[in-house]
Amino acid sequence: MRSKILTFMVSFLLWMLLSFSPDWQHIVIGILVSFLVALSMGDMFTNEAHKWLNPRRYIWFLYCLVVFIWECLKSNIDVALRVLNPRLPINPGIVKVRTILKTETALTFLANFITLTPGTLSVDVDKENSCLYIHWIDVKSQDVEEASKIIVSNFERILKEVFK
C-alpha cells in the first residue's frame, strides 16, 4: 500500500514537470493517469517504503551527487587525454572486486557509478558472492583486495549510508 502511494506521488510529480502548466485540465488528467499507473504496477516500485521518510539519506545522497559529478569530470578528461595521445597509453584487463553492499538497488547504483568514473566499466555482477567484474583501462593491480580498495571503497562508504 505504501509503495502504491509512493508510486502515485512520484509519477504525478514527473507529469507536472513534463507538462509544466498549472492548468486544471492537466492536473485532472495527471491524477487520473498516475492513479491508473499506481493501481496496476505500484507494488514493483519499492520494498521498503518506510526508508523514504528518513531525511539523513537525502543529505547523503546530495553529497554523493557532488562526489559523482567531480569524478565524472575527472574521468572524462582522463579518457580524452588517453585518446588524443599518439602512443595510446592503455593497459586493459578485466579484474574482480569484492563489495560489502547487499541490496539490489545499492548494487545497481554502484555499477552505474563505476561505469562513469575514471577508466572503469562494470561487466557483470555476481549477486550471491557480491562480486563485480570490472573492465579497467589501466590495470594497476590484479589482486582482488587491492583492486577493491582502489576502485570501490570510496563509493562504498557513501552508498552504505544512503541505502542503510
Partner: protein
C-alpha cells in the same frame, strides 16, 4: 549574457562528443571503445542539455532538459553494462595485449 554562457557550455559539450567519437575510432577492442565513447558522449550531451537549461531558465523547456539529463545519466551506464556483458557472453576476446581476464577464469 545567458546566451554566451549557454554557447560556452554547448561548445564544451560538442568538444567532448568529438573526443568520444575519436576514441571510438582509435581504441583497439569493444570494451575499450565502450569506455571512451560512453563516458565522453554522455557527458558531452549532458553539457549541451545544460546549455539549453541555462538558455531558457527554469521554464517548460528547461525542466524537460533537466529531466532528459537525469534520464541520460541513469540509462547510458546501464546500456553500456548490457552491451559489455552481451559482447563477453557472445565470445568476443579481449585485445591481445590485455593484462588479465578474471571473468573468463571464473566462468
Amino acid at each position: 549574457m545567458n546566451e554566451t554562457i549557454a554557447l560556452i557550455f554547448i561548445i564544451i559539450g560538442i568538444t567532448f562528443d568529438l573526443f568520444g567519437c575519436i576514441g571510438l575510432i582509435r581504441l583497439p577492442d569493444v570494451y575499450n571503445r565502450l569506455q571512451a565513447s560512453t563516458k565522453c558522449v554522455t557527458l558531452g550531451t549532458c553539457g549541451i542539455l545544460l546549455g539549453v537549461l541555462i538558455r531558457f531558465g527554469f521554464t517548460a523547456a528547461g525542466a524537460k532538459a533537466l529531466l532528459c539529463i537525469i534520464f541520460l545519466l541513469l540509462t547510458s551506464p546501464v546500456a553500456a553494462h548490457a552491451l559489455a556483458r552481451g559482447a563477453h557472453k557472445s565470445g568476443i576476446k579481449l585485445w591481445e595485449k590485455s593484462v588479465c581476464d578474471k571473468y573468463e577464469e571464473d566462468k
